[in-house]
Amino acid sequence: MNKVYTDASDAIADIHDGAVLMLGGFGLCGIPEHCIAALVAKGVKGLTCISNNAGVDDFGIGLMLQQKQVKKMISSYVGENQEFERQLLSGELEVELIPQGTLALRCLAAGYGMPAVFTPAGVGTEVAEGKEVRRFNDKEYLMEMAFESDFALVKAWKGDTHGNLIFKDTARNFNPLMAMAGKITIAEVEMLVPAGELNPNEIHTPGIYVNRIFEGRNYEKRIEQRTVRPRS
């Protein structure tokens, strides 16, 4: 068993035109920035990207949008990216906006081997259009289908050579869910250690879900909204 890859371009080498990708992260927090850079360098096109957000104009998925590599985005909030909005309004880019909890649930369903889940989010709204509505205990729920994707690209804090992952702070967000949901899961980590060095009690994602792992160097970790308070 060798899951360790040398770098991002090695790990993503077989991602092909038209692939369906899941990308972890919330805003720019916990995004697989090395995998994104490698996809931009590779120039793969016609991608469907499942990701809570679409990055900003010059970082994250925004870099792939600039190169017109993305055919479709499935996201919950895309408000920080002008190029995204331009491509959407001009019809170059297809977008499916779904509630954030539904996005998480559809990952979870895929990772847990469940074909569909029920959620009240979106009942009575345009999100419900074309979906089966079921009533349980006098409340209505939408049936939402598990995601199907070719690759999941996730970012963790620490990982080991078996693919076990530990996330840090709010950079966890969608990463463990997408790690479980991808047909092939590629994890980039800040620290890669030999199996046995991580405490099994502290593992967030068991290595069974991770097919490939590499250590990324020099993370930029850009901050989207730098907010501070004065020292008084």
Binding site: F26, G27, L28, C29, G30, N52, S75, S76, Y77, V78, G79, E80, E85, L88, L89, V95, L97, I98, P99, Q100, G101, T102, L103, A104, L105, C107, L108, T119, P120, A121, G122, V123, G124, T125, E126, V127, W157, F167, K168, D169, T170, A171, R172, N173, F174, N175, P176, L177, H204, K221, R222, I223, E224, Q225, R226, T227, V228, R229, P230, R231
Partner: protein, 218 residues
């Protein structure tokens, strides 16, 4: 005089009870955290995966791995916990979050809310709003009573795409505090110096006014 944004937040903070788990939306709702009454302990949930959100960090202590749902750098308080997005919306869906405070573009007299889309103009997305309004036990809307054109945002029916249906319980606007009841908006309090007549004229949906309506005191 109409309430300013800070006063709206201050009034909403009086709805907090000791032990509440609370989700505060972006904008005026975020300010509620600055007015938590003495002796009341609440835990702030940030739906990107944190219970126990603290204030903004001191300059130089920002951590890119620690942000809130508005993507702002934040801190944690003692006793905080991190979790993934599925658990975050799981605790919301299961009704563990006692109170959600969020902004709105429109609220209907049935408690429907619209706050995520203006067709042809704004395509940012709903984020976690649809999940929150579909499941929170109590939902308070913080908003201006009218839009910039002076038109009422409290309507018989929402005209914009809905975020959720029959979910808003209370509204604190710059002019008034209102409950959403099966019979329509019920006026509870008015901003200092704002007349009942003015509130009536700026409320397009059905408004119930019973007895004397007290002014909000600060």
């Amino acid at each position: 005089m109409a309430l300013d944004k800070k006063q709206i937040a201050q009034r909403i903070a009086r709805e907090l009870r000791d032990g509440y788990y609370v989700n505060l939306g972006i904008g005026i709702p975020t300010l509620v955290a600055n007015y938590i009454p003495e002796g009341i302990n609440v835990v702030l949930q940030s739906e990107n995966g944190l219970l126990g959100m603290g204030p903004f960090p001191f300059e130089g202590e920002e951590d890119p791995d620690l942000i809130n749902a508005g993507k702002q750098t934040i801190t944690t308080v003692p006793g905080s916990a991190f979790f993934d997005s599925a658990m975050s919306f799981g605790m919301i869906r299961a009704g563990r979050v006692h109170l959600t405070v969020l902004g709105a573009m429109e609220v209907s007299e049935q408690g429907d809310i619209a706050n995520w889309k203006i067709p042809g103009k704004m395509v940012k997305g709903m984020g976690g709003a649809m999940d929150l309004v579909a499941s929170a036990r109590n939902i308070i809307v913080a908003m201006m009573h009218t839009n910039p054109k002076g038109e009422s945002k409290l309507l018989p029916q929402c005209t914009l795409p809905l975020t959720g249906i029959r979910c808003v319980k209370k509204i604190v606007s710059d002019l008034a505090v209102l409950d959403v009841t099966p019979a329509g908006f019920k006026l509870l309090e008015r901003a200092p110096g704002v007349s009942v007549e003015e509130i009536v004229s700026k409320t397009a949906g059905k408004l119930i006014v019973e007895g004397d309506i007290p002014e909000i005191r600060f």
